[in-house]
């Protein structure tokens, strides 16, 4: 803070105005700096890091009137989103995960599970034979089970940023090889994906109606594009000389429109009045031909 002037800004417009419409329910302000005031009150707790999953709202004695929804990034999505949910917990977003989190590993699709467990492998240094070799390495649930049972469980709680390159001090098998670049980069990409889904979910959270609007706009767009492509295809067909619409209106008889048979058929359709009678003589031009 090189240029700290120590001077306050110009006075606020509300300074000097009447303070309140009545006695305020606040304790009178304490003199001194903020840090002194907080420390004097005994509530100071410098640099506390709070991990969301560890936090227990009921412990504060201020239970809510209504149930609180699951955080979007903690929801257990269907299997198609398994990568998201699983990743969030696997990544140890917030370093301390309890056993409940570990239990959620069971829900992983096998295809994604590989990467996750593979990385815990690197840290723990388990599976000493064929570290990166066997296909079972990255996919096998048996492998994973081993890792969990061991003293390396703590490793799962490590945060995403950085620890993958570090040595595990508890590793009984010596220093594990540094993780391959591929997995590391894949993890980073996945981390981005998780962040992405988390933030999208938050935005949807904040603006439920707009999400509805967005989805209907998208559907409308698909609808329109479908129509557009339909029209385009029809145009191309026409260029190629292919008729896409069959002419169903007034199907013509085999002898052409002027032929009596066609007219006769028409007449027949007219209904029960088809019987020849004098009054109809002039109605049909080919009555004479038919000889009445």
């Amino acid at each position: 803070m090189s240029s700290s002037t120590g001077n306050g800004p110009p006075p606020k417009p509300w300074e000097g105005a009447r303070a309140s419409s009545g006695p305020a329910p606040f304790k009178p302000p304490s003199p001194g700096s903020t840090s002194d005031v907080v420390e004097a009150s005994g509530t100071a707790k410098p640099g506390e890091i709070v991990n969301t999953p560890q936090r227990n709202p009921s412990a504060t004695g201020t239970a809510l009137a209504r149930p609180v929804p699951t955080r979007p990034w903690e929801q257990n999505y269907g299997s198609s989103y398994g990568v998201n949910a699983g990743y969030g917990s696997g990544m140890g977003y917030n370093s301390g995960y309890g056993s409940g989190t570990l239990g959620s590993y069971g829900g992983y699709g096998s295809s994604y599970g590989g990467g996750m467990y593979g990385n815990s492998m690197y840290r723990g240094g388990y599976g000493s034979s064929g570290m990166y070799g066997g296909s079972g390495m990255y996919g096998g649930s048996g492998m994973y089970g081993g890792g969990l049972g061991g003293p390396m469980t703590g490793g799962y709680g490590m945060g995403m940023g950085g620890p993958y390159g570090e040595q595990d001090p508890n590793n009984p098998y010596g220093a594990p090889p540094s993780p391959p670049g591929f997995w590391l980069s894949a993890l980073r990409v996945m981390h981005g994906v998780v962040t992405f889904f988390g933030r999208v979910a938050m935005l949807i959270d904040q603006n439920t109606q707009a999400f509805h609007l967005f989805m209907s706009a998208l559907l409308q767009l698909f609808d329109r594009s479908g129509m557009l492509y339909g029209e385009l295809a029809r145009f191309v067909f026409r260029l190629l000389g292919i008729r896409t619409k069959s002419r169903k209106v007034h199907p013509e008889g085999p002898h052409g429109p002027g032929h009596p048979s066609a007219t006769h058929g028409h007449n027949h359709i007219e209904g029960p009045k088809a019987a020849p009678s004098g009054s109809w003589d002039n109605v049909w031009s080919d009555d004479a031909v038919r000889g009445n």
Binding site: M1, S2, S3, G6, N7, G8, P9, P10, K12, P13, W14, A19, S20, G22, A24, P25, F26, K27, P29, S30, S33, T34, S35, V37, V38, E39, A40, T43, A44, K45, P46, G47, E48, I49, V50, N51, T52, R55, P57, T60, T62, L64, R66, V68, P69, R71, N94, G192, T195, F196, R199, V200, M202, L203, D205, Q206, N207, T208, Q209, A210
Partner: protein, 316 residues
């Protein structure tokens, strides 16, 4: 008044408490979902375009910013990577940020400088906590953890240096005293998430809340069973609410319905102005403390508008 085009999507705008022609804008790439962030510091010219006097780049989106109340060059920003960064306009770009405070475990959604004691600020985060920081400490002084969902906004009482309010996605508004271990009041203010709150500058017991339920409610903390008034008029979630520094009953709000609205909560037809100059979600609004009736707004259309109340923000 002219407008300013930012390169990313706007998230917040704040007038400087020291200079009547200066404002800071927090922006994020790709709607704040993924990508970088940038803080613009802008100067208004009486005649001519808005000029940028500085800009700071961050590796993640910037969701909010606030000016220091005891140093005209100091700016605090809320970064989506969970950090709070301090920037000094007097220093060259290479020496900035002068401080990066990383204690929140998820995105930081708001920062607010204490206008009374002037030596501390608050940050609220999606990790459900609020942190109190002072400029003389490298770590937070205190963490307030009671909310059961993301805390979207934490705002100091403009008349009491120990009291602040926080708005959260757990549908409650909480009033805190930094000397107390727990919150002093819990207001179940809305049926849906509360995205923003602000204190009345002239009556330190009145507070306004803005919610996903499209409404703004004004509360009296002495009798918080029923709201003083409910302001309906936005057609989507209300993103930010702000009491006027100059007029006791004037409230500005911006919403996902892309409008900025002005309300006088004491009159029957409370909606006294509606500005629809933004073509995307309007997410940032501020009123100048030094110039009465001067407004600024920003939104996802990457535009910053500054205008005098009653005039068209788009007018050249």
């Amino acid at each position: 008044m002219p407008f300013f085009k930012t390169s990313f999507n706007g998230y917040a705008v704040k007038f400087s408490p020291f200079f009547e022609n200066r404002l800071a804008v927090a922006t994020s790439q790709n709607f704040g979902i993924l990508g970088n962030g940038r803080i613009h510091v802008l100067d208004l010219n009486p005649s001519g375009p808005i000029t940028e006097i500085a800009s700071f780049d961050t590796a993640d989106g910037v969701y909010d910013c606030t000016w220091s109340e005891n140093n005209e060059n100091l700016l605090v920003s809320a970064i989506a990577d969970g950090s709070v960064k301090l920037w000094d306009l007097a220093l060259p770009l290479t020496q900035n940020p002068i401080r990066s405070l990383h204690e929140h475990t998820r995105e930081v959604h708001s920062v607010d400088w204490n206008p009374v004691r002037r030596d501390s600020f608050l940050s609220s985060s999606w990790d459900d906590t609020i942190k109190l920081w002072t400029i003389d400490r490298p770590t937070s002084v205190r963490t307030f953890k009671e909310h059961a969902y993301c805390v979207y906004s934490a705002i100091w009482n403009p008349r009491h240096g120990d009291v602040f309010a926080s708005a959260s996605g757990d549908c409650t508004l909480r009033i805190w005293d930094v000397r107390e271990p727990n919150s002093t009041m819990i207001l179940p203010a809305h049926e849906f998430e509360i995205l923003s709150c602000d204190w009345n500058k002239y009556d330190d017991c009145l507070i306004a809340t803005a919610s996903v339920d499209k409404s703004i409610k004004v509360w009296d903390v002495r009798s918080f069973r029923v709201p003083v008034t409910v302001l309906n008029g936005h057609t989507y979630a209300v993103r930010k609410v702000k009491f006027s520094p100059h007029r006791e009953s004037l409230i500005a709000s911006c919403s996902y319905d892309m409008t900025v609205c002005l309300w006088d909560y004491q009159v029957e037809d409370a909606l006294v102005g509606r500005y629809d100059h933004h073509t995307e979600f309007a997410v940032g609004v501020d009123m100048s403390v030094l110039v009465e009736g001067l407004f600024a707004s920003t939104g996802w259309d990457e535009l910053v508008y500054v205008w005098q109340h009653g005039t068209d923000p788009r007018a050249p």
